[in-house]
Structure formats: structure tokens, C-alpha cells
Amino acid sequence: MKRLIPVIAFAALAVAAQVVSFAVGKEFCLTQLTMAVYYAIVVMGLCLLMGFAGQVSLGHGAFFAIGGYTSAVLTTSDFSRFEDSAWIAALKRAHVLYLKADLYGGEVLAATPWAAFLAAMAMTFFIACLIGYPALRLKGHYLAMATLGFGLIVYKMVLGSSITGSADGITGVPEWKLFFGLTVSGKSALRVQNYYIACAVALLLLVLLMNLVQSRVGRALQAIHDRETAAGAIGINTARYKLSAFVLSALIAAAAGVFLTHYNGGIGPSEASTLKSVRYVALAAAGGMGNPWGAALVSTIINFLSLRGWFGSYDNAVFGAALIVIISLAPQGPLKPLGLLIRRIIGGIRAPKRGGHATP
């Protein structure tokens, strides 16, 4: 039962945000809120890596972009010039490729969003293993360095190559029909549905992550974080666990990238910039690294305000300031002190009652 309390609280918060946005006639805010929730998913994955395995990645913006771009390229490219080959025919039969109408009414042969999603995951898995394997066999913050370099390379690549649309990025990414008629799409008619899709994905992920950290695997990751030598001597395969945590958090970032790309209908190179990666790290730290709930909440709120343009040209400065304030006042994130405060208030309400019982 105790495990369900934060889930219910977060679901209630999500519904409350939607109700309020309608009540005050600003339902367009839900669009930015949906985007902020997808960005928060990246931060949750980083939380697992930083707060539990104790490794820092400065390349999660790049993984987000790899997910988004893989999906965008595959769902918008035209494979029809390869149509004679047996491969293409087989892929068509397997519903990996399908014919769709392009912007000008012609027919193009493109990958289905589900197939593109799986391809994006496979691609991310492969790349994350490639980077993580050498970097995580060493002790210390080699992963941060490796991912920093990797992020810079990815940024330059998406900016410079024509497949990814250079500086313009890719537009015209189709909507993604999930199942039961749920569709990831930026159409305003589907705004509320998409808001709840994003919230459901985030909440599901939070539940899975909480299950993970309160288990044998979570304890192993924390042990590595605390004392890597002792963790190894007690029987934990430290290199493998660090790599698994890194790959998992990269996959989470890439999945968020796929969702947001379908939601926005496109993706641009700024998603891969190092500044984005640094922001994710800052948000994970500000949310309380070992606390995925706090990270989700803080990053959703700050990203939402940022997307609404509240901070204007001071955007990055506000991120820095928020980080400094939270780290210096509440290093474990804002949720723990808040929880203590609530508990104290509840205790304060209950205490007089108990006193009342005591008097005859």
C-alpha cells in the first residue's frame, strides 16, 4: 500500500494540472506540459545512472537525439527506389514498411512508427554499449568524459549531414498509432489524450524504476556507488552492472526522444546539443539524484516554465540558479524536506487528539 501512495499522488497531480488548465481556459499549456513530461523521462533515466550507479553521463541529449532522429529518418524517408529487392518486399509483408501519402499527394514507402521505434532502440543499445563498455571498465568519471565527447560528435553529425536535414532538422514526422486507438500526435484535437499518454508513460517508468531500485539490482548499483571495491569483493560484477544501468538509461532517453519527435512532428539539431545534456544532468541533481519522483517533478516544472518562455533570454541562467538554490538548500531534492514537513503537519494535527484521549 505504501508503494502506491506516490503513484496515486502523481496521478492526481497530473489530472489536477489538466483540470486547472481547462478551468482557467489555458488548455494550450498542456502542449508544453506534455513536452516537459517527455523531457522529464530523460531525467528519470539519468537518475538511475547518477543517483544509483553513481556514474555521470553528459551525452543523454545525444541519446535522446539518436532516438528521435532514427525514428524521424525512417518514418519520413522514401524507400521506394529499392522496391524491386526481395528485402523490401519482405519488410513490406512484415508491416515494417508501408505506403503513405507524402505532403504533395504522391506515394512514398516509409517505415512504420513501431518499426522505427524498435530500430531506434536497437541503434541506441548498440551505441551505448560501444561507448559504455570501455569507459565503465575503469573506475572514476571516465564515462562523463567519454559521453561528453560523444555528445559533441553526435551534435556535429546531425548538424552537418543531409540525411538528418542539417540545421533545419527533420519535419513531417507522421503520428504514431500506439494501440487501442491511442495516437502520439501533435494535433490539437488529441492534445488531452497525448498529455495523458505522456503522463502514463512517465508514471509507468517511475513505477518500474522504483521496483528496480528497491531490489537486488538496485542494492548492487547503490553498493557500487558507495564503495566499488567492496562491491566487487562481495560478488557484484561491477563493470556489467554499471554498463547495464548506463545502457538502460540511454534507452530511456532515446524512447523519450522517439515519443517527443512523433508528438512534435519533427526534431532539430538543438536536441543533441551539449547544453541539453548538461541541463538533464542539472535537473537530475536538482531533483535529488537518488529520488526519481523528485527529479520527475522538478524537471517537469522547470522545463514547462522554460518552454512557456517564462525565463526569456535568461533561460540557461535560470537553470543554473535553480540548481544552485536546490543543491544548497535541499541537497536531497525538494521532495524529502517537503515530505518531512507534511509529516510534521499531520503529526501536529494528530498530537492534540492524542492529548485529548489522555485526559479523563
Binding site: L208, L209, N211, L212, S215, R216, V217, G218, R219, A220, Q222, A223, H225, D226, R227, T229, A230, A231, G232, A233, I234, G235, I236, N237, T238, S244, L248
Partner: protein
């Protein structure tokens, strides 16, 4: 066959020869101690055996299998567990969680079954908890199970570390100066623990400076000096070995040992 056979281990830190062709045997069920002056290479030897340091050209055989070159976690899974000179607990975790980590190498739930809380994982988690509680009761800390390890005193940390090492179901337990930092009563308790552990059939390899502890619990003693083997034998033999007295024990050891006690 001996449980552990160490042959011809040499280890250098730069130009310093920390271990010079050291070799010895540990028989099944024995309590074997390694003693020697500071810098003799005792901890280095334990680190080489447990895989934290490379073993170089020598050969280490554990349960009739060669273990040099294996990673520490593989050696732990093979049945060798250890404690450290400075208790190295996971300070952010509770005592119970620390000992539960000790069950890691005997359990198998992976990322996916933990994420999804599959029935097998829930059952295994329950077993891990029970086995860990049993070890905590064994070292007499059941009242502190939920306390964060960082809040414990030094002696308690040692005991938690011992419980964690025992939770891995070791055949061989390496203890690196378990009595350092303990008061004389705690040291006596420790000696009692070591004997009880040996009675359970766990072989113990002990590195220790407390001679009253070493002489009372050990079946066999290896003396190291400057990284090389100086002597080896039963406590009574070692106590009367002139070389050992000269470099380490000092004359009138009996007198030294008894004067330690208040």
C-alpha cells in the same frame, strides 16, 4: 587436497617488492593466521588472493581450480569472501541492506524481473531478507537491522561487515585485521566468533596484529617479513622461533600478551 594453495606469488609496487615468491597452503577447516611487521605484505597478499590486485606469474588454486586472473566477483562467487582493514560498509544503506548485498552472488534476479516484480523475484527477495536477518542475528545486531550503516560505531561496523561476508556462504573467509580498533572485550568476542565460524566448517585466513588473538585461535601461522616467508607452523612453534622473536614478536612474548589485558 588443501582448500587454498598459493604458489610463488610476487608483487611489486614500482620498485618496491611487496611480495617475494610467497607460497603457502590453507587446509580445509583450518584457522590460519598471517602475521608480520607493518609493511611485511600481509594485506597485499590478501588483496592478491581475493583478486583486487593482479597475481603476476604465481599460481593460486582454490578448491582445485586456478583463480588467478579471475575478477574479484568471480572469486567471491567461487566461495571466498573477505573483510577489509577499515570496515567498508555501504554507508547510505541500512545494516539489513548491507548484509542483503552479501546474498548477491547467491541470487539471480536481473534487471527485467526486478523492474516487473515477477513472482520469482518477490520470493527470492524474501529469501534474501531472511538469510540476511539470520546472519545479523548471528553477530548479535538484530536490534540495529534498520539503522543506517553510517550511524554505527566502529566495532558494530566490523560485525556488520562480518555478517555481510558470511551471507555470501563462503568456504574460505579472509579477515584483514579484524581486531584493529576494537577494545579488549570486543576482541575476545571476535575470537569467540572466529572459532564458531570455524566450527561451522568455514575455513578462516586471518591477518592480525593482536598476538593474544592470533595465538589463541590459530591452528597454523605464516610469518611474513619484507614480503618473504620467514616461518610457518603451529602457534607454539612460532612463539619459540628465534627469527620470529627477533623481527616481530620481541623477547618474552608471553609477558607481552598478558600485559595487553587491563
Amino acid at each position: 587436497m588443501p582448500l587454498l594453495e598459493v604458489q610463488n606469488i610476487t608483487h611489486r609496487f614500482g620498485g618496491l617488492v611487496a611480495l617475494d615468491k610467497v607460497g603457502f597452503l590453507v587446509a580445509q577447516g583450518q584457522i590460519k593466521s598471517i602475521i608480520g611487521p607493518n609493511g611485511a605484505g600481509k594485506t597485499t597478499l590478501l588483496n592478491v588472493i581475493s583478486g583486487l590486485l593482479p597475481s603476476g606469474a604465481g599460481r593460486i588454486t582454490f578448491k582445485e581450480k586456478r583463480i588467478n586472473g579471475l575478477k574479484p566477483h568471480q572469486i567471491a562467487r567461487a566461495g571466498m569472501s573477505r573483510t577489509f582493514q577499515n570496515p567498508s560498509l555501504f554507508l547510505q544503506m541500512s545494516v539489513l541492506e548491507n548484509v542483503m548485498v552479501g546474498r548477491h552472488c547467491r541470487t539471480r534476479s536481473g534487471f527485467s524481473s526486478c523492474c516487473l516484480r515477477l513472482p520469482g523475484q518477490i520470493r527470492e527477495e524474501k529469501r534474501i531478507r531472511e538469510a540476511a536477518m539470520e546472519q545479523i542475528r548471528y553477530v548479535g545486531l538484530e536490534g540495529l537491522a534498520e539503522v543506517e550503516a553510517g550511524a554505527l560505531g566502529f566495532g558494530e561496523r566490523r560485525m556488520v561487515e562480518l555478517a555481510r561476508a558470511l551471507a555470501t556462504e563462503p568456504s574460505l573467509l579472509l579477515l584483514d585485521e579484524p581486531a584493529s580498533g576494537l577494545n579488549s572485550r570486543e576482541t575476545e568476542d571476535l575470537g569467540e566468533h572466529i572459532r564458531r565460524i570455524a566450527e561451522k566448517g568455514i575455513t578462516v585466513l586471518l591477518v592480525e596484529h593482536d598476538m593474544s588473538l592470533v595465538m589463541t585461535v590459530s591452528d597454523d601461522i605464516l610469518v611474513l617479513d619484507n614480503g618473504a616467508r620467514l616461518a610457518e607452523g603451529a602457534p607454539s612453534v612460532i612463539q619459540n622461533n628465534e627469527e620470529v622473536i627477533r623481527v616481530y614478536l620481541g623477547s618474552g612474548f608471553e609477558h607481552v600478551a598478558s600485559s595487553r589485558k587491563p
